[in-house]
Symmetry: C2
Subunit: 218 residues, 2 copies
DNA sequence: TAGATTGTTAATCGATTAACAATC
DNA sequence: TAGATTGTTAATCGATTAACAATC
């Protein structure tokens, strides 16, 4: 997923903004536009124009043209390549309940270069069924099947209490990256990539902004 | 949600870490511990000890004690108060489908001081039903009901295409903060707080870390 | 007392923004 | 040509980390 060489040395902040650029550019292209300026992107996305140019410079193979701006199709292709949207990576989903099935459906991860090849659950009524076209296996088989499928990314969408064990089993099966949706801090080996989707943290930040806004109006 | 005075001037980074501290401390307390040192927190949560102390200093009413550390129950109560976990704020959910219903269920937002008082959808088969104890109303009534309920926070869990209009209607109804789960950039007035839950951005960052790790092993 | 741990001041690091010459 | 827009260098900002005296 993404070229190893070039993905290094790029700031996390920049990488986090690339998907938003991608959506924005794709939309502009669909509207019939051919080019766009960093000034316009910055204004619409509420960013700084220099920041936009620096971000684009990191991933783009071609320079923008003074007066004209950047060519949409080229820029989109560059982000596709950089983020690996053009070649999918396999992943497994653990927890096929509410959140898990919502994730499978959520605008299709395939657009983001992620292909969920199998789901796992402990609930007998779910095992053997399909959620969003993905077959649900018995969680007992997790590490064994993960190893057999040679999957590197595991998505954890189980309740708090089960998350650590699930993560351990994923690692045992050979997974090297864990996308954790359970509100727990996972303890894992150094050489495993972890991304916590901490809803409480997001909510806290939103609440802060709200408090600031309400406060500024008093 | 949270005291307006004190919530200001606290860095976004610090606020984002508070929920993780809260979970960690609660767990320690449940394990029968009475106190904890910043050193221990830092080690377990993979943070820097000075950073932990600075974060805690921001929200804590009492100082830690050299040699002993911090009192768990006091620290937890302080975070509760700071993040507003002790008094709930009302919110509405728009989109009662897969993602929406998963969100309502997700470990119960009430623990995080958020009370979802109503859900909305356009799907006739959902209108009138309940998801996770929350009644689903016709999306046509959105702005009217939001105004009547006097709700300040709206959660957007609808497909891409509907998100902007839903957001506009929420604002029309008087909402001042929007928690957006749809993968679109919303265009909204200045004085509205927005938090985008960008799955693609998270995935991109996880992929980067994975690439780095794999790369370092070659 | 001795030493683990605290809170604070200063140094470093990384990311954002401002200034500006180059150019299509 | 004139001017919008680019890419780059320097300045600023914010957050993290290092150093260290104070103290239970």
């Amino acid at each position: 997923m993404g070229n190893n060489k070039e993905i290094l040395n790029v700031s996390k902040a920049t990488i986090g903004r690339l998907p938003a650029y991608h959506r924005y550019l794709t939309e502009k292209l669909a509207q019939g536009e051919k080019t766009v300026s960093s000034t316009a992107i910055a204004e619409d996305l509420h960013l700084n124009a220099v920041q936009v140019r620096k971000d684009l410079a990191v991933i783009s193979s071609v320079a923008g043209k003074p007066k004209l701006g950047f060519e949409l199709s080229e820029l989109i292709a560059d982000i596709d390549r950089f983020l690996g949207y053009d070649n999918v990576t396999d992943a497994v989903l653990v927890g096929a309940g509410g959140l898990g099935s919502a994730l499978v459906g959520y605008e299709g991860f395939k657009n983001y270069g992620l292909n969920i090849v199998a789901a796992f659950d402990t609930d007998p009524s779910l095992i053997g069924t399909s959620v969003g076209g993905v077959k649900v296996f018995d969680a007992k088989e997790l590490s064994k099947l993960v190893r057999r499928l040679n999957v590197l990314i595991g998505i954890v969408a189980v309740p708090r209490g089960a998350a650590q064990q699930v993560a351990d089993e994923l690692v045992e099966g050979g997974v090297r990256a864990i996308w954790n949706f359970a509100p727990v801090h996972l303890t894992l080996p150094e050489n495993i990539a972890v991304k916590n989707e901490d809803m409480a943290a997001s909510l806290a930040i939103l609440s802060k902004r709200l408090a600031e806004i309400l406060n500024s109006e008093k």
